[in-house]
């Protein structure tokens, strides 16, 4: 029962989202579905990272009126994973846009979204 708290619940959610994303990535045949799988994988990893940085009963790492500045170290959650996830989300959008553009180019060549039709490198 000691595992039943906020950070463990969100850790489990993140892990399950990672596994669902990986499952979609491996089993789907449609290129756009594969990219959706990548996006879910991304979201899951972000949830896992933020929940690992959580401190029990911590407030947001912003030192305004709600937090005593001399007692900040005992009141706030870890800011480092949050800073990492912040940049990772923005990079994720760039990567998604890049993958979708390549899919568009591939579709113009072959007129197909099925991954089984792209077997030039298969041996």
């Amino acid at each position: 029962m000691e595992k039943f708290n906020l950070e463990n619940i969100s850790l489990v959610i993140g892990i399950l989202v990672i596994l669902i994303g990986l499952w979609g990535l491996l089993t789907q045949k449609n290129l756009i579905k594969i990219i959706i799988g990548f996006a879910l994988f991304d979201t899951g990893i972000h949830i896992v990272m933020v929940s690992i940085g959580y401190i029990k009963n911590g407030t947001a790492p912003i030192l305004d009126n709600a937090v005593d500045i001399n007692n900040a170290a005992n009141a706030v959650v870890d800011p480092v994973p949050q800073a990492l996830v912040l940049t990772a989300i923005v990079i994720g959008l760039g990567i998604t846009a890049l993958m979708l553009t390549y899919v568009l180019k591939m579709y113009q060549k072959r007129k197909s979204l099925e991954i089984n039709n792209y077997n030039d490198l298969k041996w």
Binding site: I32, L40, V50, G53, Y54, G92, L93, V103, Y107
Partner: protein, 81 residues
């Protein structure tokens, strides 16, 4: 305690939406469900005391990336017809 109940509820919603995003045959429904996963994840970040991350996820994960998916899907459909 109320936080835990909200977190469990949000978690169940996230998992249902993630499964729908993968298995639904219609691509439009899949893309909307993937956007919903991001939107609920941003509520979860708010519970985990990460307002900065919640803002980024709500603006980028569920807003911009969904619209990019739709632009590409629309373009592909137009070439088809």
């Amino acid at each position: 305690m109320i936080q835990l109940i909200i977190a469990l509820f949000i978690g169940v919603l996230i998992l249902i939406m993630a499964v729908i995003a993968i298995i639904h045959k219609n691509l439009v429904v899949g893309i909307i469900a993937a956007g919903a996963v991001s939107l609920f994840a941003s509520v979860l970040y708010l519970l985990l005391s990460a307002p900065d991350v919640a803002m980024t996820e709500a603006a980028i994960g569920s807003g911009l990336s969904t619209i990019i998916f739709f632009y590409v899907l629309n373009k592909i459909k137009r070439q088809n017809g």
